[in-house]
């Protein structure tokens, strides 16, 4: 390796290490905020037929958020290893029931969980432990998580699917969401469904 090449490699290594340090110290990113477009993420299709039917997804190996048959998608970023997500799970299930029992809202609002850093097995453990009735997607290598902005958990996004196929964030918030009734009311209002 001549001196010039050594210099290039050395500079690259220093830049890389500096950027790596930035990544560490940032310890999280910036999630999409209200009014912004939700990142174009591609998710693996759930294996479970009930989950596929719920989302209205047919065929293929993957899907995108605008492909979900709904006007509004509530996305929870969770982890089976997160104590707050564990404690919040029954309330999130109640939210699902409220929507499912409402004949007007059940086809307009769908729910989806993304298990940050969780393998399919780990997501399955969480789904089974808390009898989660809506689809949970494994994001074992944090690929989706990084695209979404490295949020803390649990984190909830409300995403409106527009007629032109774009999808816009109308709710973006960390932590407990309070009562399921109030949360649903605010979802309906903020999304413009009513």
């Amino acid at each position: 390796m001549n001196r010039k090449n050594m210099k290039i490699t050395l500079i690259a290594t220093i830049i890389a290490m500096s950027l790596g340090m930035l990544n560490w110290t940032a310890f999280g990113g910036t999630p999409p905020q209200v009014g912004e477009v939700f990142p174009d993420i591609t998710l693996p299709i759930p294996e479970n037929d009930a989950d596929k039917a719920y989302l209205g997804i047919k065929g293929g190996d993957s899907f995108t958020i605008p492909q979900i048959k709904a006007r509004v998608v509530i996305i929870e970023i969770f982890s089976m290893y997160c104590p707050y997500c564990q404690r919040e799970a029954p309330k999130v299930n109640q939210l699902y029931s409220l929507i499912d029992n409402d004949p007007v809202l059940r086809d307009k609002i769908k729910m989806l969980g993304i298990g940050a850093g969780n393998s399919p097995f780990e997501v399955g453990v969480f789904k089974g432990k808390y009898n989660v009735p809506f689809p949970l997607i494994s994001d074992g290598d944090f690929t989706l998580y990084k695209r979404i902005g490295e949020v803390r958990t649990p984190y909830f996004f409300g995403v409106r699917i527009n007629d032109d196929g774009t999808h816009q964030v109308f709710y973006s918030k960390l932590g407990e969401f309070g009562g399921p009734e109030e949360f649903l009311k605010s979802m309906v209002q903020l999304s413009g469904l009513k």
Partner: protein, 201 residues
């Protein structure tokens, strides 16, 4: 041509560093920003002193609950999983046990008990594990003599914390599985479950 090759290598180094150093453990809001991030550490930094098939060295350690737990008290009664995690209030460790906390049924099915061990002292472990909710398994302090049990098993790192290691010990006290994980990443739950399912119930 050679210069272009080196440019590719250089850019490759930047890219690999960017994608590999972003981690996301300890992200639960349960810890409210109290997690100290030690940065990327050497994946492992010790040499095992035991191996699968050998009798697990006995030990007795104080638990956060106030009792003293001795490994041999489970001999003939329970399979035992030792989960060493490096340190309280750090990213990956703060994730690992809350996950084990919701799979007590898997441990029960395999007639196993879990013993969580760190080299932290009892007050630190008390404050830290309180954030995880009520844990069903004993949390033991290997603080004094510092890291003596971790050292006995060969999982004490040169900076005084333990490795992120799992030992599966059967009812006869024989080590059946040893997993020393990269300290920077959480071991997959399915690996432990698979090893538990191999044990005699």
């Amino acid at each position: 041509m050679k210069r272009q090759g080196f440019l590719v290598v250089a850019l490759g180094i930047i890219w690999i560093t960017l994608v590999s150093t972003t981690t996301a453990f300890g992200i639960s809001q349960a810890y409210k920003g109290n997690i100290y991030n030690p940065g990327l550490l050497k994946p492992t930094d010790s040499t095992l002193k035991v191996k699968a098939g050998e009798c697990a060295p006995d030990f007795s350690l104080p638990a956060v609950s106030g009792e003293r737990v001795t490994l041999s008290q489970y001999r003939g009664k329970k399979n035992v999983v030792l989960s060493f995690v490096p340190a309280a209030w750090t990213p990956v460790c703060s994730d690992q046990w809350p996950g084990y906390n919701i799979v007590k049924d898997i441990f029960d099915t395999n007639d196993a008990i879990l013993l969580g061990i760190t080299v932290d002292n009892i007050p630190t472990l008390f404050a830290w594990t309180n954030q995880m909710g009520k844990l069903w398994f004993p949390v033991l302090s290997d603080f004094w003599p510092h890291g003596a049990v971790a050292d006995k098993y060969g999982v004490l790192r040169s900076d005084g914390v333990s490795e992120r290691a799992v030992f599966v010990i059967d009812k006869k006290g024989v080590i059946r599985y040893i997993g020393v994980n990269d300290i920077n990443a959480r071991p997959r739950l399915e690996i432990l479950v698979r090893e538990l399912e191999k044990l005699e119930k």
